[in-house]
């Protein structure tokens, strides 16, 4: 518990944590509500979304879908950056050295970092939900729509959001440990999350096996899970796999990323 408490204390007071959470909240509000609201009220709407689709996307009862649809790509990239920075920076600052000589076992130290990041990620998803719900209620009230609060189904979407966020967190932690620094970890992570998988999807339209592969890559699995729980209309959301299959792949990625990062941390010399 001491390791989790220590990591929470330092992540809580780290400006980067709040800057990244803030950026994500602004993005989810802007792309999820502000632009849709403007489109509804005189925008050009080149995506051919009907008025009813725009209204539906902003209804409070669909807030679960609004939360999960942003996470496969842009939200995931932000979470990955946070995790990669949180772990990778420790090498440059020398804080891993301080941490590992403080007393806890290396496994406990890693568990502390992962536990604290998990708390931050849960907070990020909860804040996303709260901000989206508030925005949807404000818009529905302004527009005078009949609206209702989300039903129990929202927990499925939030659970999927947490699983997607956990996968990107694990990916970021893995990259931070492998590269032993923040810059390369963030660069590689962003490259993968935003560029590489999309390029592969482009190639996949020409080569069948590549297309099948892209569906189960980290971003692809996240997109498929988001699609399966109602997410739509956002980059990275897919509908090729069932929710269960996508969720199983994501659990596998979490285990592999976290397991490999912990194994490396435990076995590798800290020089």
């Amino acid at each position: 518990m001491g390791s989790v408490k220590a990591e929470l204390l330092r992540l809580w007071k780290w400006p980067a944590t709040w800057v990244l959470i803030g950026v994500w909240l602004v993005m989810t509000l802007t792309f999820g509500y502000v632009f849709n609201y403007l489109a509804l009220n005189g925008g050009t709407n080149t995506r051919d979304m009907s008025q009813q689709q725009l209204i539906s996307a902003m209804q409070p009862e669909n807030v679960g879908a609004a939360v999960v649809r942003g996470l496969p790509m842009f939200g995931g990239a932000i979470i990955l950056v946070l995790a990669a920075l949180a772990v990778g920076s420790g090498y440059g600052w020398g804080t891993w050295k301080t941490t590992l000589t403080a007393g806890p076992r290396r496994v406990s130290a890693m568990a502390g970092t992962l536990g604290a990041l998990a708390v931050v990620v849960v907070l990020l998803v909860a804040l996303t939900f709260a901000v989206n719900l508030s925005a949807s209620i404000v818009i529905a009230s302004l527009e005078g729509w009949d609206w209702s609060l989300p039903g129990w189904g929202v927990f499925e979407a939030l659970g999927a959001s947490l699983l997607i966020a956990a996968m990107w967190t694990g990916f970021g932690v893995f990259l931070g440990v492998v590269t032993k620094g923040p810059a390369l970890a963030v660069g590689l992570g962003l490259m993968w999350a935003i560029v590489t998988e999309n390029l592969l999807r482009g190639v996949g339209s020409l080569l069948g096996p590549v297309e099948s592969l892209t569906e189960v890559l980290p971003g692809g699995s996240a997109g498929n899970l988001a699609g399966a729980v109602g997410g739509s209309g956002a980059p990275g959301v897919l509908n090729s796999l069932s929710g269960t299959t996508a969720a199983l792949f994501l659990v596998g990625y979490v285990v592999v990323f976290v397991g490999a990062a912990t194994l490396l941390k435990v076995r590798r010399d800290l020089v």
């Binding site: 390791s3 220590a6 204390l9 780290w14 891993w96 301080t98 590992l100 076992r105 800290l270 020089v271």
Partner: protein, 286 residues
């Protein structure tokens, strides 16, 4: 013995960075770990703290295997400069460290007082001077009242005043009975503070003894006339140019012997090798 190593070795490929080092640190002493840059001091210390795994050999720290929680909780360390979060204050950094060590938060203030950092404890670490950073590192090492303090180059980068402060701090800790393993390449510092020293060169421990033993016996320099007569009169004397060197500490007796034999004694003074001279001799550094 509070620390023992037996043929401790670390190899990177074919290169032995630490080569069969067997050293021992006794409870209550300040042990100076000397060596030129790149001699293997830090790697040895990292192995004692479990940060680096030895290729072969063994080590025990307070009776435990290095790097285990049992050992680490009894050891405070500062290795190659302090590693703290730059955006946190000195106090918050210590709180984080205290949480990891399972030390109650109240000890943070005591540690800050001990290194005279209470006034600056609220400032962010990144704004600290090098000396303040080093002192915060020592404060972190002191949390949990460790039985052994390992300080690797604690005066690195400090100005003369900062170095003097750090020496005083180590001296004060030693006076309280704290066991300290102090790694340094600053020989004056080690000579002033340490009870025993280990000298490492090229990864090998080339000597381990008290500072006095390392410097060897005191030699008396005698300038006398006629020198040949003095050479005959004094046993174990050797001629070095126009002076004699004698392995004898009773200068009064020597002078009486020479004067009684009608030899003019022009100069008598002790000649003592400094630790620096011994160090250069042993490590081949200059």
């Amino acid at each position: 013995m509070i620390v023992t190593t037996e043929k401790l070795t670390k190899r990177y490929g074919d290169r032995a960075v630490v080569d069969e080092v067997s050293l021992s640190v006794r409870r209550g002493e300040v042990y100076g770990f000397l060596g030129p840059n790149g001699a293997g001091k830090t790697t040895t210390i990292r192995m004692l703290l479990g940060l680096v795994k030895p290729t072969s050999g063994a080590a025990r720290v307070l009776g435990e295997a290095p790097g285990t929680p049992k050992a680490l909780l009894k050891v405070g360390s500062l290795i190659e400069g302090p590693g703290f979060y730059p955006y946190l204050s000195g106090r918050d950094n210590l709180r984080v460290h205290a949480a990891r060590r399972g030390v109650r938060a109240g000890e943070v203030e005591a540690a800050l007082e001990q290194v005279d950092l209470v006034g600056a404890a609220g400032e962010r670490f990144r704004r600290y001077s090098l000396g303040m950073k080093q002192r915060l590192g020592v404060a972190a090492a002191l949390l949990g009242q460790p039985e052994l303090l390992i300080l690797d180059e604690p005066t690195n980068g400090l100005d003369p005043a900062g170095m003097a402060d750090m020496r005083d701090l180590v001296r004060a800790l030693a006076a309280q009975g704290q066991t300290v393993l102090l790694s340094s390449h600053l020989l004056g510092e080690v000579e002033e503070i340490c009870d025993r020293v280990g000298v490492i060169s090229g990864g090998k421990l080339v000597a381990e003894s008290t500072v006095e033993q390392l410097r060897g016996d005191t030699v008396l320099l005698i300038r006398a006339d006629p020198l040949e007569k003095a050479l005959v009169l004094i046993e174990n004397s050797t001629r070095h140019g126009d002076v004699l060197h004698v392995r004898e500490t009773d200068a009064g007796a020597l002078v009486r012997t020479l004067v009684a034999a009608d030899v003019d004694v022009q100069e008598v003074r002790p000649l003592r090798r400094t630790l620096e001279e011994v160090f250069f001799e042993m490590t081949g550094a200059a």
